[in-house]
């Protein structure tokens, strides 16, 4: 449990850095690592991030080197859902969410976003002739999530929902995520064993989505 934390910290950081954690001032070193891993293990069991997150942010603020760490931890912090919907009937071809316990809520979020997708496509066809990109951008923000959309030429809709507190995911990152999704989806479509319209059960596709969610970029 602790070993990945310990080996991650360079000795200079362990010697010099003093960072506030909560109310106490502790040298950033072994004790922090313990604290961190305790936090993470707590997360693993409870899944509740709200209490741990501020402390973690404080601790990592100002240390650019820690970015690598943030990336790993985002697996826990990053609420992300990606959904692919079929052309006309809008039933889901593929849904994946991290964490998986509140999946039903995301189904709802995604389905409510479909109206916005329809609206964007229909206006893009008429009024804004120059705006005919496949990426639709931010569909709508809610208090907790941001919902992004993408529609292929074959009218297959991709929706990604991310936690609004996740500031590292900018427009460009989301765009490249959609590109990746689209590329993999094309591969699935060209697979002779896949019938268009069936739910996607490709292992290659699964692993691509998993990698994307871990990376969250």
């Amino acid at each position: 449990m602790f070993s990945p934390c310990l080996c991650g910290f360079p000795p200079t950081v362990q010697r010099h850095a003093v960072r506030p954690i909560g109310h106490a001032k502790l040298p950033l070193g072994v004790s922090d690592c313990l604290c961190l891993s305790v936090c993470l293990s707590a997360l693993r069991w409870t899944g509740d991030l709200s209490t741990v997150y501020p402390a973690f942010r404080l601790m990592t603020a100002g240390i650019g080197w820690m970015d690598g760490w943030m990336e790993i931890c985002k697996v826990f912090f990053h609420l992300s859902v990606s959904v692919i919907l079929s052309p006309l009937q809008n039933y889901p071809l593929y849904i994946r969410s991290v964490p998986s316990q509140s999946e039903l809520k995301f189904h709802y979020t995604v389905h409510t976003s479909l109206d916005v997708v329809e609206e964007k496509i229909s206006t893009a066809g008429k009024a804004m002739a120059e705006q005919r990109e496949l990426y639709l951008g931010l569909l709508y923000p809610t208090e907790d999530y941001k919902v992004y959309g993408y529609v292929t030429n074959s009218k297959v809709k991709f929706v990604i929902v991310v936690d609004s507190s996740n500031t590292s995911l900018r427009d460009n990152e989301i765009r490249s995520m959609f590109r990746k999704l689209h590329n993999s989806f094309t591969d699935v479509m060209c697979n002779p064993f896949y019938n268009p319209g069936d739910p996607i059960q490709s292992r290659a596709f699964d692993s691509m989505v998993s990698a994307m969610m871990v990376q969250s970029s």
Binding site: I121, R132, T152, S154, T186
Partner: protein
């Protein structure tokens, strides 16, 4: 030059494969009365291939404005990718009927230009009809595609759009 040779090899491969597929399907359906079934089998093959192809080809293109925009894409980009040339003439009555004319259709160029094999021509066009129908259907346009030949390497594809 190497790219050029690879391109030519691709083309030859596609033609040989296409010819073999026709031979195979034809021999599987024994007797002359089964000609219709042979054609529809080839057409269905083309349909699935068209669906996959169009998914790939439209990956980086902008969203299409309308039906005509889609047809232009089929005539130019799609045809160039598959047959190494564009459609020579596209006509429409603006009510859902499009006629695509190819004066030197790739899959017919190896056949004699006389009337000798004219009766076999439908088999050599069925796959392409399916290809177009599959491509269009994946872009959300339901259609019926038929082909006709009067003089051998030239042929016309008629696309009838089915309004939903």
């Amino acid at each position: 030059p190497s790219v050029f040779i690879a391109d030519m090899a691709d083309e030859a491969l596609f033609q040989f494969l296409h010819n073999e597929v026709i031979q195979y399907v034809n021999s599987a359906e024994s007797g002359e009365t089964e000609n219709g079934r042979c054609v529809s089998k080839l057409e269905n093959m083309g349909f699935r291939v068209g669906q996959g192809l169009i998914e790939r080809f439209t990956k980086d293109t902008a969203r299409f404005k309308d039906e005509l925009d889609i047809m232009k894409f089929i005539c130019k980009d799609f045809w160039t990718c598959v047959f190494k040339k564009q459609i020579d003439n596209l006509r429409t009555n603006h009510q859902g009927i499009y006629v695509l004319q190819d004066n030197k259709f790739r899959l017919l160029t190896q056949l004699s230009t006389g009337k000798q094999y004219l009766e076999h021509a439908p088999k050599y066009l069925a796959f392409t009809c399916g290809l177009v129908r599959g491509g269009l259907s994946n872009l959300g346009v339901k259609s019926i595609v038929t082909a006709e030949v009067s003089v051998m390497p030239a042929c016309k594809f008629q696309v009838m759009i089915q309004k939903m």
